[in-house]
């Protein structure tokens, strides 16, 4: 029980310190979980982080579940995850309540109109960064382009693009193996 509490609070702390997404989490995670608590080794955490990036969901959550289950099985995985999301739920609920109350003010509306431009740029930068990692040849470039255009013009759930793309990846790679 004591270990579960420790897991919860350690990851809650991690949640507060993760400012700006899962990528920002790794250095803090290393210091806390590898050096201070000695729960996992450096190699293990790199593995977890790598797998956390290529499994569905939020990277920070995936990594937390992984470390939690390593220490205390299924319960540990769940508790670590609840810990990492706990600060978000509290902070955002308070902020969202406040913003709703102030959203009728003219300067708040103008501020958010400015912020929206910035958010566009942040998304654009994220896409550019992801492009370098995901588009590695002509075929991945084609998949990117088809999904981009398809998703802008068609009203299909993004889930379908994901499912079909995974199947296409398997088929393309299989043809490649057979072609050799």
């Amino acid at each position: 029980m004591k270990v579960l509490w420790e897991l919860f609070w350690t990851f809650a702390k991690m949640g507060v310190m993760t400012f700006g997404g899962g990528y920002a989490m790794l250095p803090i995670l290393q210091r806390e979980v590898v050096e201070n608590k000695r729960w996992v080794t450096e190699e293990e955490i790199m593995d977890y982080y790598a797998i956390g990036q290529c499994t569905p969901g939020i990277i920070a959550v995936n990594t937390a579940t992984f470390i939690g289950q390593k220490i205390r099985g299924i319960a540990g995985g769940i508790v670590a995850t609840l810990g990492v999301v706990f600060p978000s739920v509290v902070i955002i609920s308070i902020l969202a309540g406040l913003i709703t109350n102030f959203s009728h003010l003219v300067w708040v509306q103008n501020a958010f109109a400015g912020i929206q431009v910035c958010v566009c740029v942040l998304i654009f930068n994220a896409v550019m960064k992801l492009l370098k990692k995901s588009v590695v040849d002509k075929r991945t470039a084609a998949i990117f382009a088809v999904v981009l255009v398809g998703s802008v013009f068609l009203r299909i759930s993004p889930a379908w693009f994901v499912i079909v793309a995974a199947a296409v990846g398997i088929i393309l790679k299989n043809l490649e193996v057979k072609g050799k």
Partner: protein, 203 residues
């Protein structure tokens, strides 16, 4: 179906299919807003801005915010739990066969196709919000329609103040040496000030 059940289900799907971290949930959140009418793109943009500027993983912050918008504090909790449920299930399964998963040919093959698709989805969300924020074009989707429709909203085709600020921010965040490594919150704060001074909302 009760709103909370729907909320849990929508976020469960988001958590299951969004691959590649917080930003990858954006196309799904866009889709939820479109199909339920719970919130608009503009609302979503504001939520994303707040999520980027507060502590916590962006994906979780956005889930909490959307949940709160739809159903108050219970909504915030339910949306967040919905989003992390698939993660917990998938990771617990993967952890049981860690070595096999990492070396599995099919997993690697699937990701060859998945990664560019995920980037394409975020790119599409980017295009849509850019049209909304920097031009007078709105992307509409009538319920049940297969194809999105584009419509002029407002008087001017291009919103020049937004385009100029966007261009400035792209240069600052990518090419100006010490500045580009600053935390996004700095640029968000800067944009808020610009928005207030130049009356970006037009009021």
């Amino acid at each position: 179906m009760s709103v909370y059940l729907r909320l849990y289900w929508e976020f469960f799907k988001t958590g299951l299919f969004a691959v590649g971290g917080g930003m990858a949930t954006l196309p799904f959140l866009k889709d939820i807003g479109q199909s339920t009418g719970w919130y608009t793109y503009t609302d979503l943009m504001n939520m994303l801005a707040v999520s980027e500027s507060t502590p916590g993983p962006i994906g979780i912050n956005m889930a909490t915010y959307v949940g709160f918008t739809v159903g108050g504090i219970p909504g915030a909790v339910i949306a967040t739990l919905g989003e992390v449920t698939p993660s917990i299930i998938v990771i617990l399964i993967v952890a049981m066969m860690l070595k096999k998963f990492r070396d599995n040919r099919y997993v690697n093959m699937a990701f060859y196709g998945l990664r560019p698709a995920s980037t394409g989805l975020i790119g599409a969300a980017c295009v849509t919000v850019m049209l909304e924020v920097m031009t007078g074009i709105k992307v509409l989707a009538a319920d049940g329609a297969l194809v999105n429709t584009f419509r002029m909203a407002g008087e001017s085709l291009i919103k020049w103040p937004g385009v100029l600020l966007g261009a400035l921010l792209i240069v600052l965040t990518n090419f100006v040496k010490p500045v580009k490594n600053w935390h996004p919150i700095v640029f968000i704060a800067f944009s808020a000030v610009v928005g207030i001074v130049f009356r970006f909302a037009g009021v």
